[in-house]
Amino acid sequence: MATAAVAPPKGGFGYRHPRARLAALLGGPMIWLVVVYLGSLAALLLTAFWTVDGFTGAVVRTFTLENFVDAFTTPAYLQVMARTIGIAVCVTILCLILAVPLGFFMSRVASKRMQPILVAMILTPLWASYLVKVYAWRAMLSPESGVIAWFLSPLGIGGPGFGILGIVITLTYLWLPYMILPVYAGFSRLPNSMLDASADLGAKNWRTFRSVIIPMIFPAIVAGSIFTFSLSLGDYITAQIVGGTTTMLGNIVQQNYVTNLPFAAAFATIPVIIVLIYLAAVRRSGALENL
């Protein structure tokens, strides 16, 4: 074997015939992801500009903006959009309120020996089935026989029951670990010297928290919020199980995709656009490197 006279740009596996090797490595994954996945997304987007024949129910392949106009001018649909965004914002804020003190406790108050145990305790429910966790909240929230209703009954008050509050609680429960983990990591990275410096300069705890800690863990918070926000935005199963009659964006898509696929396709682009806008807005915070 000849030794290389010129060092390749990156060593290791791409040592010789880099182009051929790259093609061999990337060919399979790209055929799958570009042809199957990106192709499907493109076809869906195209369908969003088609329409459905009112009599036969068949898809008519002529270009129209009707579906988007319909989605953005019908008050009921606008209400669903506003409600879904509202739910996603509430869930994100609740996750934040829970995750910041908990993350601080886990990284700064708990002993070094406890830390990996606490992290495992956050990770374990992440592995419990999504559907099981929503189901668990059905058992918690049920107005007649739920745990919360039973717990509150001696006080003479009812539980939240099924509805928008139930959805917010359940989604907060589902996505909380996605907020805790980056926030915990953010707190762990915080150098003690900074906190000492702040104290030496005369800052009280609250001032240090507000002026030093929060700015430093902000990227971690944003990273977590990307998960809690976008996962809430696309969810429809939770609304079906604990939402009572409350509908979210995903429910509209799910209800329409059999009878009016073009409209469902158009509606499905809405959460994607909102998430993309959110991602573009937070890009500058450096949160995307924290994912």
Binding site: G12, Y15, Y37, T47, P101, P125, W127, L131, G234
Partner: protein, 268 residues
Amino acid sequence: MTTSRGTKIALTLFAILAFSFVYIPLAVVLINSFNAGETLSWPPEGFSTQWWQKAVDNEGVRNAVVTSVILGLIATAVALVLGTLASLALSRFTFFGQDTVSLLIILPIALPGIVTGIALNNVFTSYLGGLTFTTLIVGHGTFCIVVVYNNALARLRRMGVNLEDASSDLGAGPFTTFRLVTFPLMRSALIAGGVLAFGLSFDEIIVTTFTAGPGITTLPIWIYQNLFRPNQAPIVNVVAAALVIISVLPIYIAQKLSSDDDRGAGVM
């Protein structure tokens, strides 16, 4: 910053409350599965293991578990092959469009499941002759690739290229280098990625709903179908409880992997 005693106590209490919030619903599922009564009602009527027995004997549950396991294994295998190839390409080469490719791999989990679901559903039913078990595998494979890729890529970046270069210098071809150097060093990351991929596939409900052929019932689909049937509630409770118990397993495997290999398993 010195955290005062009062703050520490307050934070500890807060943590206890937060962990209760996380674990009480799961505990309720476990307790309900031993409820002697036939409805999903609190408090339980008495202790009984009869529903566990009935769930084990339930043919629908057994078939659903088998379907989910087969699906998970095939989707994981697909993801392991494609994810490893993609991670090698992106860590060992610099090429035009690299960022676009990495974004494309992440896209299936970044977009809401319902978007991926109806996109694939549309193509399969409108152009490719309908839904089958194969279309379900394609759906699951698509979002499983990214987790293997992420684990493998992180490992390859940490590994560096010195050992692979040494192998090449000593005359090993690319396949020999991969077999004897790269793969052994990646193994624990691939196991972690594979466990994660299997877990994702086993749990997936939305993409499954839209890509499974008629009559194919995975375990999440079975739970979903029986969730609103009052007479099935006790069996659903048991299945849910079993899934809660099983969820400890991947964490255990991850701990094992990271103690075998201090670079960490990366199972999340």
